[in-house]
Symmetry: C3
Subunit: 287 residues, 3 copies
């Protein structure tokens, strides 16, 4: 996804394995610390990087979004551990996904939907081999007892195929619906709300640029239609409009966001996850 | 405490020393970052793992609970640094505790009570040798100036015995009282309240299982008595009862918790740390 | 700034490079995790230490204070990455500062003012060489796309001089004003408010001690004048006065703080950043 002109080829180096963690466990009660302890017992040289632990409880949709956004900024070979798991203690499966040179470990509850929906080649395993779990499994903390040791064993080089069988029927959530694109419009929707209240859509900048290029659109031809607001053009930065004004911008999530200059768009608009945003291409008179 | 069927023997590897940190310093003001800087000056290859920094200020009882729960998930040889220190700037001693292959550094204020109460063999030192402190000691931040360098020197292999004399009179807090167990009942109490509002007792699952086995009890024979509520049986998961209902469950803290399905038990019951919970074994008619 | 009697000379060891990070990005949305991913692609062996990510948004003054306080607790050679960047997406420059054996990367918005104001020798560069940036630069997340790769390339040994030209006109903010010292008084002001509500001034303990020594003052001769309160003497610890009472103390920030024993001085006094605090030396009758 990204390359550097001057990069050291980390895959050619004898580098430490990297594990990222994304949970809704919070940082107050030590849950994440214990997961790291379990992993360091198995792979003592790992570099463990926190993505977020402050997701709203059971926010599978938000977790899936952040995971799909973040993994590409890590080197190939990274293991991405995602535990947002309302079904902990039930029989829901534990997935390992191999795709694009990355490994993902998550409950089979739709958390990996964006990656499972993609057209990239992939292999999916259900990690049933208890040899790679902890000996004692609690009913309420599989993040520590099942997911962490699996991620650590993957990071030290155990193939996913040793941990369970390949499957082809993972859970995919409908919330992760694809864009609807025509020559005149792109229908997207709100996928994530960040802590500033910015409304982040699933429209990636590269997709938008290709569409613009194909349809010869100029910025003055673009209308962004919210349920109760209409914005003209895409802004270049949050500060491009007066404080308090709504704007559309391609931000750090690499996707179109609806923001309020020096304000909180979620509060201003009252919109939430799943609400529709449509981009229209208006052929203006002057063209 | 835990073993893995497939574990790499980290003690046989030339691995990096691990230091865990547990404080009430918060993450906003940089205090924890500075402690890490001080430690990395002394032991540059350390792996430093945060357990929690969001304890309520001066919550010695909560800190002692989390430390006693968490250490066993780390490899032997780990140094556990615990700084919840209302007496900073006074003459309270600085302790090093060696037990079960782990090292603990903490103020002598009862924070280590659960470990000091245990029957495992142990050695306790008072770390008076200023050679292992920083040169300049502030009155208000011993976490950085005294505790961190001691932990780092231990992690790089300096024996505790070089840092001060052995003692046998550490402070032990009465809040860390033992269970009262008879054939008919177990008297426990609320030891910790997590950020979900779950009321965590000091009754470990293994102790409960042994007691059940010895007294031939079935789950239908169990009554959990709260000050103003009575629960029948132990549940397997938080979702085992309808939303809003109280339940008792052995959770991720490896101890019995009182929870409210999709709710907050601390709010629902009004109970707090120290309040009693008693398990009664009721020999029902059908047996 | 600090030395240890028993320190291992980390510069003589083949140790891992250290990068510290200080931002106002919060930890909820994954921004900091992505910065770490980008850095680990370039310098896989780095030790990355969080200073704070919970600064108020765009708090350049607070960020500059924490950076100036924290860097000295890390080994020489550490790269300090500071991103509090209200001007993201504009033409503001990206600075690299070399001073006292440390490297700093920050936007040219005054964040480095305390270091730029110091009399230590220094070199300042503007990092314009896009070879050391990411290929794709967003308008809103230069922390990931520009600052992180620069810090990582510095950490792996690329000289700052390869990344851009030396400059001598960095932005310096007036808020970072120097102390006014006479034989009778020291005029300081509130530079930072920590999460306890303590009002931290820019008066360093060493400066105060030198002034006291030079002017033969005793603690009973000291008056600390706040806009609406007058304190007599400097306390040794937060607990030196009764709960609720204001006091002045040299705390963990290595500077004089105004605190309320077991209380919140910012709330009690209503004072904020920039408000003046003056120390007067009162030659009492008994002397």
């Amino acid at each position: 996804m990204i390359s550097f002109k001057h990069i050291l080829r980390s895959v050619e180096m004898n580098h430490r394995p990297i594990i990222t963690i994304l949970t809704d466990f919070g940082l107050r009660d030590g849950f994440v610390g214990l997961m790291k302890g379990v992993m360091l017992q198995i792979v003592p040289d790992a570099h463990i990087v926190d993505i977020s632990h402050d997701l709203p409880s059971f926010a599978v949709s938000a977790g899936g979004f952040l995971n799909n956004w973040s993994y590409g900024y890590f080197p190939q070979g990274t293991v991405h551990l995602c535990v947002v798991d309302p079904g902990v203690g039930t029989k829901r499966r534990v997935l390992i996904l191999e795709t694009q040179g990355h490994l993902f470990v998550a409950p089979d509850n739709g958390l990996l939907s964006p990656l499972l929906n993609s057209t990239h080649s992939k292999k999916i395993f259900t990690a049933t081999n208890t040899q790679f779990w902890m000996d004692k499994i609690s009913n309420t903390f599989h993040g520590r007892d099942i997911f962490s040791p699996i991620a650590a064993h993957l990071a030290r080089g155990i193939p996913a195929s040793e941990m369970g069988n390949e499957i082809d029927d993972p859970v995919i959530l409908p919330i992760f619906k694809p864009l609807q694109i025509t020559n005149d419009s792109i229908e997207t929707y709100i996928r994530y709300i960040d802590h500033f209240g910015n409304l982040v859509t699933n429209l990636e900048e590269s997709v938008f640029m290709d569409w613009c290029s194909k349809n010869h659109c100029k910025n003055e031809d673009i209308v962004v239609q919210l349920p109760a607001n209409r914005l003209h053009g895409i802004s270049n930065a949050f500060g491009d409009k007066e404080p308090g004004k709504l704007l559309a911008v391609f931000g750090g999530f690499d996707r179109m966001e609806i923001a309020v200059s020096k304000g909180n768009a979620a509060v201003t608009t009252g919109l939430g996850i799943g609400d529709p945003i449509t981009i229209h291409l208006i052929k203006t008179a002057k063209r």
